[in-house]
Subunit: 212 residues, 2 copies
C-alpha cells in the first residue's frame, strides 16, 4: 500500500493491500481512464451517471450539459463521488471463489466547484480536448458564447481520493492446483476500429488517433 | 424513444430522444455490459463502487464480499443505483461543442434484496459464471460452504430502470460543414489479449474464450 488514507470515509475497507493513496498512482489512473461515473444524492436517493473527465493538477474535472442533473446537483446536494475503473483482465482460478479481475480504479469524494469564469472554462475544455485529441481544439471552429453557456464544467479537489489496483494471476490454495481446469489471466483492453468519416467530409482530411 | 418512464425519478432529463424504457433494450444493454457501478448513500454522502453484475429475467444481480460496503449498505441505507455504460465510439464534429460519444447505458434504481438461501445463491453465482465463461462452473472445484458465506449476492428488480443510447455521426450546423477538420466517428471496442496461463498449469489445458 502506498500513502495514507486522506480520511476515514475514503479509507478502503476490502483488500486494503490493493489500495494506494499516493498522488502519482491516483493521477495515473485518472489520466488513463477515459470516462467516469459520478454519483450524487437526489431526494435522498443515489444517482450514478456516466460522463467524461480530465485532470488538471490536483483537480479532477468533468463536464455536463448546464441543464442536466449532474450540473444541478452540484448546487442542490453538493456531496459527490467520482469513480473511474479500468478493467485489465479476467483472472481465472481453479475455484469459482478465487476468480477475480485485474483492474485499476479511483474513487474521489468531495464537493464540486462549478467553473463560472468564461476564460477559465474555455481553457479547461481545451485541456479536456488535449487529453482526447491533442491539437484538435485549435483545428475546430471556436465555440460561441452561447455554446459555452450551455456547457457546465465542474471540478473536485483530489484531497479525499483513493486508488485500488489488482494485478497478477489467480491465488489458489495448493490443494486445488491439480484441479484439471485452465487457470490464468485473460487480458482485455480497448481497441480502435476503422474511422467512419462523416458523409459530407472532403476526402483529403485525415482522422486523428483514437483515444485509448 | 421506446416505452414510458417507470417513474418520474427514473425519467431521463437530457436528450430524452436517446432514451428507452422498454424491457428488450434494457436487458440487451445489461447483458452486453461486463461490469457496473453501484451507488449508495453512506453518512449522507454518495459512494460509487465498481463491481460485476448479471441479469436473471427481470432482475439485475451483483456480488460483493460479504464484508464490504456494497453488501452492508443494502441493510443500512437500501436505496441503490446500479449503472452500466458501454462506450462505442468517439464522435468528432467541426466544433468542440458538437463533439459527442456513441454509447449505451442503463440506470436502475431500487432497494436491493440480499439472497440468503444457499441454493439460490449458488445457482445465481453459476448463472454469473455462465455469462462470463459458459460451462466453466462445472469444471471448477465446487465452492465450499465457507466460500459461499463470504460472498454476498444482491439483486434489484428492473422496475425503475432507463436506457440511453447514442449512435451515428456528428450533428454539425450546415454553416460549419466547410470547416477544414476531420469529422466522423472513431469506433472503439474491447479486445482480447493473449491468455497468460498460471505458472503451475499443465500445458494440456486450453483457455476459455475471453468475455467481451
Amino acid at each position: 500500500m502506498h500513502g495514507k488514507p486522506p480520511s476515514d470515509f475514503a479509507r478502503l475497507r476490502r483488500h486494503h493491500e490493493r489500495g494506494a493513496y499516493d498522488t502519482a498512482t491516483i493521477h495515473a489512473i485518472l489520466d488513463a481512464a477515459l470516462w467516469c461515473h459520478v454519483g450524487h444524492v437526489a431526494q435522498g436517493r443515489p444517482v450514478v451517471l456516466p460522463t467524461f473527465h480530465w485532470r488538471q493538477g490536483e483537480r479532477v474535472y468533468w463536464h455536463a450539459s448546464a441543464a442536466n442533473r449532474l450540473a444541478k446537483a452540484a448546487a442542490e446536494a453538493p456531496e459527490t463521488c467520482l469513480t473511474v475503473s479500468l478493467l485489465d483482465g479476467w483472472v481465472l482460478a481453479r475455484t469459482p471463489f478465487n476468480h477475480s479481475a485485474n483492474y485499476r480504479s479511483v474513487v474521489c469524494f468531495g464537493r464540486p466547484v462549478v467553473v463560472t469564469d468564461e476564460d477559465e472554462k474555455r481553457e479547461s475544455l481545451r485541456l479536456f480536448f488535449e487529453k482526447l485529441y491533442p491539437g484538435r481544439w485549435e483545428q475546430c471552429r471556436p465555440p460561441t458564447r452561447q455554446e459555452m453557456k450551455a456547457t457546465a464544467v465542474l471540478w473536485l479537489p483530489l484531497t479525499e481520493a483513493s486508488a485500488k489496483i489488482r494485478t497478477g494471476g489467480p491465488h489458489d490454495d495448493d490443494a486445488d492446483l491439480a484441479w484439471p481446469v485452465w487457470a490464468g489471466v485473460l487480458p482485455v483492453r480497448f481497441g480502435a476500429g476503422a474511422p467512419l468519416p462523416e458523409e459530407r467530409l472532403p476526402p483529403d482530411l485525415a482522422p486523428p488517433a483514437t483515444p485509448l
